[in-house]
Amino acid sequence: MATHNLKPQTEKAPKKKNEFLYFALRNKKLQIGLVIVLLFLLLALIGPVLAKNEPFAYANPQGAQPPSSEYWLGTTFFGQDVFSQFVHGLRATFLVGVLGGGIGTFIGILVGFTAGYRGGIVDEALNVLTNIVVVIPTLAVLLIIAAYLEVRSVFTESIFIALTAWPWTARAIRAQTFSLRTREFVDLAKMSGMKSRKIIFGEIAPNMMSYLVMAFILQFGGAILNAATLDFIGLGPTNAISLGLMMQISILWGALQFGSWWWFIPPGLAITAIVGSLYIMNVGLDEIFNPKLREM
């Protein structure tokens, strides 16, 4: 620890929360990212209400048409309302993000904590497991699993994404737990004979909140990207619209050749914007939680 890792800060432990707020309100990156994500979230929530047509309804007899006052994002080759598909797709995207990201983070935390906290054999075992899952290329597994699932819902998709995405979270958490578990307050807790679960969640977890939040955000983004890829290959949910699926269909139906940019640009753009903002939010948070980066 460099000397100027402020003494007052360590002293101000109780004030942590409002300190967080304090920095948060001053961190451009966090704000920009948050705003963008929230905008899309809002769109996902109210969009379907605004949409005049069902995503799959053949609204426009003229087939593919550029954006207009009638169809805000134009229509697909079949005259389906792109806007409607887009907003419904957004919903699916956020759902996957929350479910997949959430579950992934949870597993990661569980494994990471236990490994880091217990150490010894448990650690070794979990470590091996982690390394194995890390090495196996996620998408390849997802492809195969997805390919053989008869009925695929957003939910199952999320689960499988989560099952392959947790390792690096586990690693980060493990490392953190390691360093934390050697701190005095844990020893104290130990001496006062607390249950280890209690120690983990009562003592260590709070000190790692920042990590958990950031881990979740990254998982969230990762899940969205993975889902998009699966959907694009046509292995996503078979009975729901999604941004990836939109891209796939637009390509299959010659959107490129007919120059129907309004069909394949929005979905990808949305994904990029959301995931990008998530990442940038993450940097913001990192700066907030980690004073070292603040000076940069």
Binding site: F56, A57, Y58, P61, G63, A64, F77, F78, G79, A147, Y148, E150, V151, G234, T238, N239, I249, I251, L252, W253, G254, A255, L256, Q257, F258
Partner: protein, 595 residues
């Protein structure tokens, strides 16, 4: 860091070289038949044709696409249809005794000069003179006998069941073969087989093992046809004209010196290439062709809707083992409820035509009973559908907008098609919504192809689309698919709805036994079948899938088109269509002479 960049460039060059050589060495990579010994390595194309320049001469090369489903893997002419990624194995290389012209409905003598029934149980084929294999050997009656005998020898060959009624094949002379038959001869199947069984050279095939014959890859096929195997890669098969093809004097010389059969990964690739004139003939199903055709980017058979000839019938199979689909009235109501016009106009943007209730292709309209159709036929009519439902006691009890069964059970049916088959997905969406409009709760779902196929064959679906009956010279082909029997655990190739009705089964078998020449006899049976079919509605013919064909006149002209008398053929490269006039099309094409 300098080193890094240097190292990198080396690697680049290396991997480039690697893949280039790899592709160059392609043909040697071709699979061996399942057992490893006797590997006759294929000559490197460059070596094989040294005068060949790197870039093919456009003016004598025909680029086609839409026939191959995947990379070429087998040149075995006996391979079942869905494996025939190498279109032309049967057609370019191997030939049949007869061809069939769906335009005129006539059998065209091909290897055979003539063939006739000397009596009810004896069929005599006379071969043309001077038939040769591409290796110079003569093609004789012995080859024909050898080929047909294989069916007797190996049950796993698709045409083997023919031997249930075929009793012997004898080569009377170099050019004459006599087929002797036993009891209940399936004349229809026989005539169908005449233009589907490829004749293979005895002098090369007699040494093959059973496995090689049935499932062998047979690379470097030696046939009698108009084209020779040149080379192939992941995404293309290349054929060169057989300059001493026996047929040149008989039919004329095929125009393209070389045919590059491109396998496009996805429709959009083909679409791009055909609009840019990089592909001369695309048999892919391409969205929006109607539009492009109007704008003159591509040509199609018809100037206006449906633009395409009809290739096969898309039929909605109903699982007749389930309530309420086991009720004929309900099925009929469904037939009226489905909004076929929208399918044609929206899902296909007018690229297809609505199907006749008989399910028969226009080319077989002779076998349609107009009166029966007029009396029992159906068309999109929601009110009518609702009427039928009401009469049959299907009413909406809990007013959720959907009817319940007469005994009050709610109805919820799934209509399926493979996920990713976008045109069909669109179609079943319309089926579902229009059925709902009539008060029948139908939902559309898209399982994966595999899952769908399993449901289809094991009969666990409710309603699903299928179009597996190939274009044919006889209505029997379709009805044989629709009413495939006996009903088994797995229905692999027909009657997926497991409609069990002995009367109609007997009729189909009876039809099979009517000689092809006895048109009236056939019509008698078909009209009975149609009457039963339309009253029972075990499945619902909806529309004709098109013989997708869009072509560019940038490099080749005189394409088949409505009213083009100079080329009355099918503009297709699909497997199984070469004997249906596809090859004649190649002969009729004319290169654009660059001035």
């Amino acid at each position: 860091m300098k080193r890094a960049t240097f190292f990198l460039s080396i690697l680049l060059a290396l991997s480039l070289l690697l893949s280039a050589c790899q592709t160059a060495a392609e043909p040697t990579e071709v699979a061996e038949p399942v057992d490893e010994q006797e590997t006759e390595p294929v000559e490197e194309p460059v070596v094989e044709a040294p005068e060949e320049t790197v870039v093919y001469d456009r003016s004598e090369t025909l680029y086609v696409s839409g026939a191959a489903w995947g990379p070429a893997s087998t040149w075995n002419p006996f391979q079942p249809g869905s494996l025939a990624n190498t279109t032309g194995t049967l057609g370019y290389v191997y030939e049949t005794l007869f061809a069939y012209d769906p335009m005129t409905g006539e059998m065209i003598p091909w290897l055979a000069e003539s063939g006739e029934w000397v009596d009810d149980a004896t069929y005599v084929v006379t071969l043309r003179d001077g038939l040769t294999w591409s290796d110079g050997e003569a093609l004789t009656a012995d080859d024909v006998k050898f080929t047909f005998d294989l069916g007797q020898q190996y049950a796993a060959l698709w045409f083997s069941p023919m031997w249930n009624y075929l009793s012997s094949v004898t080569a009377d002379s170099a050019t004459q073969v006599t087929f002797a038959f036993g009891d209940d001869i399936l004349y229809q199947e026989w005539s169908n087989n005449l233009y589907n069984i490829p004749i293979v050279p005895e002098h090369l095939w007699s040494s093959k093992t059973e496995e090689e014959i049935i499932v062998g890859a047979n690379e470097n096929p030696i046939g009698s046809g108009a084209y020779l195997y040149d080379t192939h890669a992941e995404d293309r098969n290349i054929w060169v004209r057989n300059e001493n093809w026996w047929g040149i004097d008989v039919f004329g010389t095929p125009a393209p010196k070389r045919i590059v059969d491109i396998r496009t990964s996805s429709n959009n690739v083909a679409l791009g290439m055909v609009t840019m004139g990089d592909i001369d003939l695309s048999n892919n199903f391409l969205p929006g062709i109607a539009e492009l055709s109007k704008q003159g980017y591509v040509d199609t058979y018809f100037e206006g809707p449906p633009y395409m000839l009809s290739a096969n019938t898309a039929v909605l199979f109903l699982n007749t083992t389930l309530k309420p689909l086991d009720d004929a009235a309900f099925r009929r109501a469904l037939a009226f409820a489905i909004d076929v016009p929208s399918i044609v106009n929206v899902a296909y943007a007018q690229l297809v035509a609505a199907a006749s209730p008989s399910g028969l292709l226009p080319s077989l309209s002779t076998f349609e009973d107009a009166d029966v159709i007029a009396e029992l036929g159906y068309s999109f009519d929601t009110a009518q559908a609702q009427q039928i439902l009401a009469d049959a006691g299907y009413v909406d009890i809990d007013d959720d907008g959907f009817v319940e069964t007469p005994d009050g059970d709610p109805i919820e049916l799934q209509v399926t098609c493979p996920s990713g088959w976008t045109d069909w997905m669109a179609a079943i969406d319309i089926i579902a919504s229009s059925a709902q409009a009539a008060g029948i709760n139908v939902q559309s779902t898209y399982p994966d192809y595999g899952a769908w196929n399993t449901e289809l064959q094991s009969g666990t679906f409710n309603m699903t689309l299928n179009n597996w009956a190939a274009m044919s010279n006889t209505p029997w082909t379709l009805y044989n698919l629709l009413f495939r029997h006996p009903i088994q655990e797995q229905m692999q190739s027909g009657n997926f709805g497991r409609y069990d009705n002995q009367t109609i089964f007997d009729l189909v078998d009876e039809l099979a036994r009517v000689p092809m020449t006895d048109i009236a006899g056939m019509q008698a049976v078909t009209s009975q079948i149609q009457e039963l079919m339309l009253t029972e509605m075990p499945m619902i013919p909806l529309w004709y899938n098109g013989l997708w064909a869009q072509f560019s006149t940038a490099h080749w002209t005189n394409w088949p088109a409505e009213g083009n008398a100079d080329n009355p053929t099918l503009p297709t490269t699909w497997s199984g269509y070469w004997q249906l006039g596809g090859l004649m099309n190649l002969i009729n094409l004319e290169p654009v002479v660059a001035e």
